[in-house]
């Protein structure tokens, strides 16, 4: 069952700008099993999208740099070492990606049908007519009404939610083994968000596709993800099953994220909290835990040394000093106001 489809090992990506080197992703390791949904959660700028683009090998080098030692194994093959030919089979055929803003992600001067058949015809030798028939079927599959006439329309003639459905149709055109959804619902309103998430979920179940769902919204993740990875400033701070993360969060950051999600199941009116402060500047990443300046339970050691990764069993891990036995005995959490 749990056969590994994708293994990301020690991925590190930096961008070289005028100000210096921005370390967007700092040694990230995770894996995705076949047919499973992995959610990558984190706030803006934590390296989620860069990780997603790296898996598709869409990172522009330069200005970016994928560091030595990074590995992205897809069925055991390293995506980063693919040659042009292998890469063109892999992209769109074996792995597909959908982006946050479907309007920007669709070519404005090309009909929706042509954008779908472009994918089909690149990966299998079929006639234009056949491909168009497949495109109509794909649009029907993603729930677009009157697909026969809609294929001839341009992206601007679709509504936001429909455009995202078109993106999903393009992504599923060649039945990929892996779908990366980079914030697929962020630009949509809440009712549409739920529809899109359900659509991805249904298609995934039907086709057995593995999905990496990237989002900053834990609410989106709750009923779709099997496992969740929480990223913060280019690192994974906690990982675990859906249950682990939602019911037994270990890392203070995960905790803070959960407190920021409104809940309908609580009777009393609850106060939504926000996380004070801003993530660290990745031009000069902090020596210790990147979350220490915003953490409620920060200790002396957090500011000076990188926290170790503690294992809580069944793949539930968190990188935090609170759970470590190696920390100095006298070190206890303090609040920043006291300092």
């Amino acid at each position: 069952m749990s056969e590994k489809l994708l293994e990301v090992k020690n991925l590190a990506v930096s961008y070289h700008g005028y100000a210096g080197e921005v370390q967007s992703v700092r040694r990230v390791t995770f894996d995705v099993n076949k047919g499973e949904t992995l959610a990558v959660v984190g706030e803006s700028g934590c390296g989620k999208s860069v990780t997603a683009k790296s898996i598709m090998h869409l990172i522009k080098v330069p200005p970016a740099e994928i560091k030595e030692g990074s590995e992205i194994l897809f069925n055991g093959e390293d995506v980063l070492k693919f040659d042009k030919k292998r890469l063109s089979q892999y992209r769109g055929g074996e792995a597909a990606i959908i982006f946050q803003d479907a309007l920007a992600a669709l070519n404005p001067t090309m009909t929706v049908g042509n954008q779908i058949i472009e994918n089909i015809r690149h990966h299998s030798k079929v006639s234009k007519k056949e491909a168009m028939a497949q495109a109509v079927e794909l649009l029907r599959m993603v729930g677009i009404p009157q697909p026969e006439s809609r294929v001839k329309q341009y992206p601007h003639e679709f509504s936001g939610g429909m455009r995202q459905r078109v993106m999903i149709a393009i992504a599923f055109a060649c039945n990929p083994q892996l779908l990366i959804a980079d914030e697929p619902t962020t630009a949509l309103d809440v009712t549409i968000q739920a529809q899109i998430v359900d659509l991805i979920k249904d298609l995934q179940r039907e086709k057995g596709t593995a999905v990496i769902l990237i989002t900053h919204d834990l609410g989106v993740v709750a009923n779709i993800a099997h496992r969740i990875v929480v990223m913060y400033s280019g690192k994974i701070v906690e990982r675990g099953s859906n249950l682990d993360i939602f019911h037994h969060p270990k890392h203070p950051y995960t905790n803070a994220l959960l407190e920021a999600v409104p809940r309908l199941d609580l009777v009393n009116k609850q106060v939504l909290t926000s996380i004070e402060g801003t993530p660290p500047d990745l031009l000069n990443p902090p020596k210790g835990c990147p979350f220490c300046t915003r953490c409620k339970y920060c200790m002396e050691i957090c500011c000076t040394e990188e926290p170790p990764t503690e294992d809580f069993g069944d793949g539930h891990e968190a990188s935090c000093w609170l759970y470590s036995l190696e920390k100095p005995a006298e070190d206890a959490p303090f609040t920043w106001e006291d300092k």
Binding site: S88, G92, F99, A104, L106, P108, H123
Partner: protein, 320 residues
């Protein structure tokens, strides 16, 4: 459909009104300049002859009366006779000089625009390499030096020192296809500006398109770099080119004063400027109105072209 017809009618009205304003402004500007076309000629003539001359061209009448006569004439399509060259009328001049300017302009444009677009694609695809730098350096050079300077330099080197081409002149027979040796240097001198501006325009536009998300989508489908450029980048980056092109066409066929004077080419541009210098009001009015009409029509064509290259834009805002 009804909406489209209404839109066209509205546009036509606006175009005619624009033309009317241009004609009026030109008329009063010419009327406000001191002296007139006859001043220099009548200095030594007896008063009675002077009077008759003024009478003949109607230059003795009050400004407003002349304005009405001119406007009525334009409405009828009669711009009047040249004051300087007897018997010459605007249609005659355009029939005679128009093709000369048009051939020169079309040759310049074909060479300049095609070379410019080629260099633009090269610079954008090879961004950051030596090719890109060379194209940028070349276009800065070509755009900053006026074509008059190039014209004189080419004339000096290729017609003077090397004597490969005639120094001045223009083919008198077979005006569209003959006497190419006369046309080489003026065409070259005039096309440099187009090379530079189109190379820069296309490069900027392509780089902009290449940063769009849909290029990432195209790449994520597994398309090769060539396919991405061919099917996704080029069409979208041609939108500004298509809208610039009609203006270039208009500029070309209405002639260029500098090139035409350096190479003594009997074209519209040279004639037009000379007419202004000599205050040949009828000719200036006529040419201004006709050239303006061409430009106004070109702007209209541009708007239609927009809707062809960019499906997001539809005439009158309705769906097809």
């Amino acid at each position: 459909m009804k909406k489209t017809i209404l839109y066209f009618l509205k546009r036509l009205l606006v175009m005619l009104f624009t033309l009317y304003i241009i004609a009026t402004a030109t008329f009063f500007l010419l009327a406000a300049t001191p002296g007139d076309a006859l001043t220099a000629r009548v200095e030594k003539l007896p008063d009675i002859v002077v009077e008759r001359l003024y009478e003949k061209y109607g230059l003795n009448k009050p400004v407003m009366e002349r304005y009405v006569t001119t406007m009525v004439g334009i409405l009828k399509g009669d711009f009047g006779e040249s004051i300087i060259y007897q018997g010459q009328t605007v249609p005659n001049i355009i029939k005679e000089k128009g093709p000369v300017s048009a051939r020169l302009g079309i040759q310049q444009m074909l060479l300049g625009v095609s070379l410019g677009l080629l260099l633009g694609v090269l610079a954008a695809v090879k961004k950051g390499t030596i090719v890109d730098w060379l194209v940028v350096a070349l276009s800065i050079l070509l755009i900053s030096v006026p074509n008059l300077v190039f014209a004189l330099m080419l004339q000096q080197i290729f017609a003077g020192t090397l004597a490969w081409f005639p120094v001045i002149g223009w083919p008198k027979e077979n005006i569209w296809f003959g006497g190419w040796e006369y046309t080489v240097l003026p065409t070259l001198a005039g096309c440099f500006g187009y090379i530079a501006s189109y190379a820069r325009l296309l490069k900027a536009s392509m780089l902009d398109v290449m940063n769009q998300d849909y290029i990432l989508t195209a790449e994520s489908k597994g398309l090769s770099r060539f396919e991405v450029v061919r099917y996704h980048v080029l069409r979208n980056s041609f939108i500004p080119i298509v809208t610039n092109l009609p203006m270039t066409v208009a500029m070309c066929i209405t002639g260029s004063f500098f090139i035409e004077s350096v190479f003594s080419i009997p074209g519209l541009g040279l004639y037009y400027v000379n007419a202004v210098a000599a205050q040949d009001v009828t000719i200036v009015m006529g040419e201004t109105v006709i050239i303006s009409a061409i430009y106004i029509a070109v702007v209209f064509i541009t708007d239609i072209l927009y809707t062809i290259v960019d499906p997001r834009i539809r005439i009158s805002g309705g769906k097809k």
